[in-house]
């Protein structure tokens, strides 16, 4: 009972609420910027201009190849020697977004590549310019491939964001550690942090399945009534 009471008191405490808000803030900002950067890098990698392709490939190689923690510490501790001094939040945001962009680039690229050549050609033949072709033909189809793994990346980012605690950003983990260092109550404080993490993961998972279902609607649900409505209505009756 004491454990539950302890955990509950931490969960509702101002420090933990702030930690939770900070974790979410860092996660969302980093991931959203990573998605945008990922698009740019993916387009660069798919461009016909070789130097641009090479640049994109090098980016992916470097940022995917170095441990995130190393990148984070580099941004926080090494950049100041070049005169770039960033706060804990800024360092974490820069490191996490740049790192994640490399992964997003690959996800976006596979999504764009999943749209067949014929779709591009047909749009072109109808007089659409590059932007219109992208906006109305390619992206809506690519999104179906891009969204599910991107939602996974959001969940991954939520957990990776805990690294920000090493550069002094008061996220959930640092909040738990700081609280515990005052009263040695590691169990209760960490459990409180864990509950927040699991709750956020559950929330993201829910959003993910909602998005997947919604994308499915435009594709299959509308048609299902026409194709399978007879079947659907009959089946329960048959079982009874």
């Amino acid at each position: 009972m004491e454990l539950i009471e302890g955990v509950l008191s931490y969960l509702g405490s101002e420090a933990f609420l702030l930690g939770a808000v900070n974790t979410i803030k860092l996660t969302l900002v980093s991931q959203i910027v990573a998605v945008v950067l990922g698009f740019i890098i993916a387009l660069a990698k798919m461009s016909r201009w070789k130097p641009l392709q090479g640049l994109a490939a090098s980016y992916i190689w470097i940022f995917r190849g170095i441990p995130v923690l190393v990148q984070l510490i580099f941004v926080y501790n090494a950049l100041p020697q070049f005169g770039i001094k960033l706060s804990g939040f800024q360092s974490a945001f820069v490191a996490l977004a740049l790192n994640e962009a490399a992964y997003m680039a690959e996800i976006v690229r596979s999504g764009l590549a999943s749209v067949g050549k014929g779709q591009h050609r047909a749009a072109h033949a109808l007089g659409m310019n590059n932007w219109q072709r992208m906006r109305y033909v390619v992206l809506p189809q690519a999104f179906r491939v891009i969204v599910p793994p991107t939602a996974n990346q959001f969940i991954g980012m939520l957990k990776t964001s805990a690294m920000a605690s090493v550069v002094g950003y008061t996220d959930l983990l640092l909040t738990a550690q700081q609280t515990a260092s005052a009263n040695f109550d590691y169990i209760d404080t960490l459990i409180a942090a864990v509950i927040y993490y699991l709750a956020f993961t559950a929330l993201f998972t829910f959003v993910q399945s909602y998005l997947e279902r919604r994308m499915d609607t435009t594709r299959t649900k509308k048609r299902q009534p026409k194709l399978f409505s007879g079947l659907k209505n009959r089946e329960p009756n048959r079982i009874v």
């Binding site: 779709q119 072109h124 033949a125 109808l126 007089g127 659409m128 189809q141 509308k222």
Partner: protein, 238 residues
């Protein structure tokens, strides 16, 4: 209407079109035949401004098709593989280009699409998605989609070669209707019966060149070129 002047094109160093010159006049119904690899589909795509050319010039009413989007919107194209937009229903496929390219209102685009669906005899399939439609239905929607831009010239790239025989005729009927209405068409096809029925001019291509260019009525008699004779024998012997 369309002038093709000494066009050449290479693909990975391989010449596909060698110094092709042609002129297509308004109201003409041109059928291009030839063995596979003869460059006929490539020529058609170049006419539509979909492929760059390495030499020569293609002019639509005096304008370079490669430079101007205006000419491209007056040239409609239908592909062998239909290429309907997979994420859109039949009617949305037809409405998209008028809406985004010509900025036609949703209402106007829709009423035009309804007319076109009727014209290709698919009014009952308006809300269906491409994967719910048969090949022949998809191709008819693709024709309606191209017509929605009010093209002056329609290019058909082997419109029936991906279709079962019983679906072929439903697509050909739609094309015959179009031709009756006076549309200028260029059709690449293997259907010789159809070629004779629809075309008033037949062009035979081989190895990237135009080797014969004659009125369809004289196809057999005038076939001088041994390669064309051989080709006609081959496809009619089946």
């Amino acid at each position: 209407m369309l002038q093709i002047k000494q066009v050449s094109k290479k693909y990975h160093g391989e010449p596909i079109l060698k110094d092709v010159s042609l002129e297509i006049k308004e109201g003409e119904r041109v059928v291009i035949i030839g063995p596979s690899g003869s460059g006929k589909s490539t020529l058609l795509r170049c006419m539509a401004g979909l492929e760059s050319i390495d030499g020569g010039l293609i002019l639509y009413n005096g304008q370079d098709v490669n430079g101007s989007r205006h000419s491209r919107s007056e040239i409609g194209m239908v592909f062998q593989s239909f290429d309907l937009f997979q994420h859109l229903s039949a009617i949305q496929n037809i409405m998209l280009a008028p809406k985004v390219v010509k900025r036609v209102s949703d209402q106007d685009a829709r009423s035009r699409a309804v007319q076109l669906l009727e014209r290709v005899r698919l009014s009952d399939r308006a809300e269906h998605y491409p994967e719910q439609l048969s090949g022949g239905q998809q191709q008819r929607i693709a024709i309606a989609r191209a017509l929605a831009m009010n093209p002056k010239l329609m290019l058909f790239d082997e419109p029936t070669s991906a279709l079962d025989p019983e679906m072929t005729s439903e697509v050909l009927d739609v094309i015959v209707d179009l031709v009756k209405d006076g549309m200028t068409v260029v059709i690449v096809t293997h259907e010789m019966e159809f070629a004779r029925r629809v075309g008033d001019r037949i062009i035979f291509m081989d190895q990237g060149k135009v080797v014969e260019d004659l009125p369809s009525s004289q196809l057999e008699e005038a076939a001088k070129h041994p390669r064309l004779k051989q080709f006609l024998n081959q496809i009619t012997s089946y």
